[in-house]
């Protein structure tokens, strides 16, 4: 940026290479970002203010789609499901991930092998995860039958086909997939903590649980934030897992906004309503992620 100024003013090969070339190289990405993200968000927003059904229409119609959306019981059911699934998924994944990271941090033999086992689900597609768990949770052939074979003949585990509990099966599969990754984040955070603080605390006679509770876990705050953001992001956009596991059913018991959006936009010919629900998903994601992103960035500037 500074060395570029030496050349003669006006056009020269050096000036082209130093000033124009870098911008030329990054231009396609700038266009992709401005059009593919921000432009398309605007476009979706516009669609959400029209009466588009099978085909997009571009005449302004005000808030009709949002009124329809807010009057739609299925939408509220899907938002409620998202709240239940999201909160449990985030909380359980964080808890399991943290506990496992702390345990793995105790100078464990075979740590590498265990870590590999905990992490491999992250490499799988949610479609694969959903397929596997659909089979395991199948009441006729899965865990329920296993318990019967073991002699617990009264055992019932039919959550996946029970509208009251089906959403919890999504939590089970989601946690299975993501908690190992949270563990890896926490483990990296634990390894990055300065030993001298811990040694000092030990000299002062603090017990290991106290050291964890008072010093180590609080200093993992940034990791908590990152993990929270990622899990919240996964929860809001969760689509494939539910599609493969329950297809949104039984009934609409595991319907999520992402499925609502997909079905109204692509199978029910309700583009306007689909766009409005997509905008609400965007707002939900922003509401969750922005405060954390903001505090993160502010700290980065200060530090």
């Amino acid at each position: 940026m500074t060395a570029a100024r030496q050349g003669a003013p006006g056009f020269s090969l050096g000036r082209f290479a130093d000033v124009i070339l870098p911008k030329l190289v990054i231009t396609p990405t700038v266009i992709a970002c401005l059009v593919g993200f921000y432009g398309f968000i605007g476009w979706t927003a516009w669609l959400s203010f029209t009466e588009s059904r099978m085909l997009p229409k571009y005449e302004w119609a005000g808030l009709v789609q949002y009124q329809a959306l807010f009057a739609n019981e299925r939408w509220w059911a899907s938002m409620q499901n998202l709240a239940v699934f999201g909160l449990l998924f985030i909380f359980v994944s964080l808890a399991v991930g943290l506990i496992m990271a702390v345990l793995l941090d105790q100078k464990i033999r075979f740590e590498g092998a265990l870590r590999t086992i905990y992490l491999y689900p992250m490499a799988l597609s949610f479609i694969v995860t959903g397929t596997a768990w659909k089979w395991i949770l199948n009441p006729g052939l899965g865990i329920e039958k296993l318990a019967h074979d073991w002699g617990f003949s009264g055992f019932v585990f039919d959550w996946i086909v029970n509208p009251d509990y089906a959403i919890y099966t999504v939590v089970i599969a989601g946690v299975w997939q993501s908690s190992g990754f949270v563990m890896a984040l926490f483990l990296a955070g634990l390894r990055g903590i300065d030993d001298s603080i811990i040694k000092a605390a030990q000299v002062d006679g603090a017990s290991l649980p106290t050291i964890y509770a008072r010093i180590i876990v609080p200093s993992l705050r940034p990791v908590f934030l990152s993990a929270f953001m990622i899990l919240a992001h996964i929860a809001v956009k969760s689509f494939d897992l539910v599609m493969a596991l329950t297809g949104g059913g039984p009934g609409f018991a595991t319907d999520l906004p992402s499925i609502f959006m997909y079905q109204h936009s692509f199978t029910r010919g309700q583009l306007g309503l689909g766009a409005a629900s997509a905008m609400m998903m965007l707002f939900t994601a922003c509401a969750v992620v922005m405060p954390f992103l903001y505090s993160e960035l502010r700290r980065e500037r200060r530090g």
């Binding site: 990405t29 345990l103 086992i117 491999y120 597609s125 990296a188 956009k237 997909y262």
Partner: protein, 294 residues
């Protein structure tokens, strides 16, 4: 590096506590492995064995019929040609999409760290925010644009879409790495008369091979595992593997062949599992780097 481990083993060191820790860790390992075991053993069973046995029972003999059916003749929706064709669709989509997005991301990271211009930081910020968007908010216009652009092939569409929405991550990885490379390196090269591309190919790219690895692993898993773009932007025989698997598993016609479902699921998982096993260390590093930064 953390002598915390030392400290803790000295503390909680002896006896009972250690056994409890190991017991919990092993139980957790079994819980993570259980679905893989169940998938594998089910895929080798016959349907009769599945009905007679249970989840954990071993297959009587190694029966590869389910795998053959899954690959060549299982019904995914209307047609019954197995998932083999869809598997190669995914390959044809993943390879170009990963290579293009990685190369362009490397150039972007180079520009954003070593050739900053007015607005480059703001642009980087705009790109960073993009990593958190739910893609539902862009798929309707994307479908319109792809329709207008007249790209008929499903593979072409998916490569384009995956490159566009993968650039944010690849740019992020490379930018965050190149920021740590001293500017003096670039300045010295320029005094010696090296230009934009020469500096990139001769100096920066060679020292960023680990980042290239992280990027390729990340993009491969993301693109191979994608379902939303696949189901929206492809159709018929051009669909990727994840969509075919979902169609197969959720087909309601005929007798449910669980062994075939499981074989197909493993086929769908193999490439990313392979990448994970081969590039394991980088995979973790890539995930955590991508996560912590953003």
């Amino acid at each position: 590096m953390a002598d915390l481990a030392h400290a803790s083993s000295a503390r909680g060191g002896a006896g009972f506590g250690r056994y409890v820790i190991y017991a919990i860790l092993v139980l957790m390992a079994l819980w993570y492995l259980a679905p893989l075991y169940v998938m594998l053993s089910t895929s080798f069973k016959t349907l009769d064995e599945i009905r007679a046995g249970n989840l954990l029972s071993l297959p009587g003999a190694f029966n590869l019929d389910a795998w053959r059916t899954a690959w060549g003749s299982a019904c995914t929706g209307v047609d019954c040609n197995g998932v083999g064709g869809y598997f190669s669709n995914s390959l044809k989509m993943v390879i170009p999409a990963v290579l293009i997005s990685t190369l362009v991301g490397a150039f972007n990271g180079y520009v954003l760290s070593k050739w900053r211009f007015r607005g480059s930081d703001a642009f980087f910020m705009a790109l960073l925010i993009g990593t958190f968007l739910p893609f539902q908010v862009v798929i309707l216009p994307m479908a319109q644009v792809l329709g207008m652009a007249g790209i008929e092939s499903s593979t072409g569409r998916l490569v384009l879409v995956h490159v566009i929405y993968g650039l944010q991550f690849t740019t992020l990885f490379f930018r965050n790495y190149y920021v740590t490379v001293p500017d003096e390196l670039v300045k010295a090269a320029r005094i010696d008369g090296a230009g934009f591309f020469r500096i990139f190919f001769k100096i920066l790219l060679p020292i960023s091979i680990p980042t290239v690895g992280v990027c390729i692993i990340w993009q491969t898993t993301q693109i191979w595992n994608d379902f939303l773009f696949g189901v929206v932007f492809s159709s018929g025989e051009g669909q990727p593997m994840t969509v075919a698997l979902n169609n197969l598993v959720n087909t309601s016609t005929g007798v449910k062949q669980y062994n075939v479902d499981m074989a197909a699921a493993i086929i769908a998982a193999l490439p990313t599992l392979f990448v994970y096993v081969v590039g394991g260390k980088y995979f973790v590093r890539g995930l955590t780097a991508g996560a912590v930064k953003g």
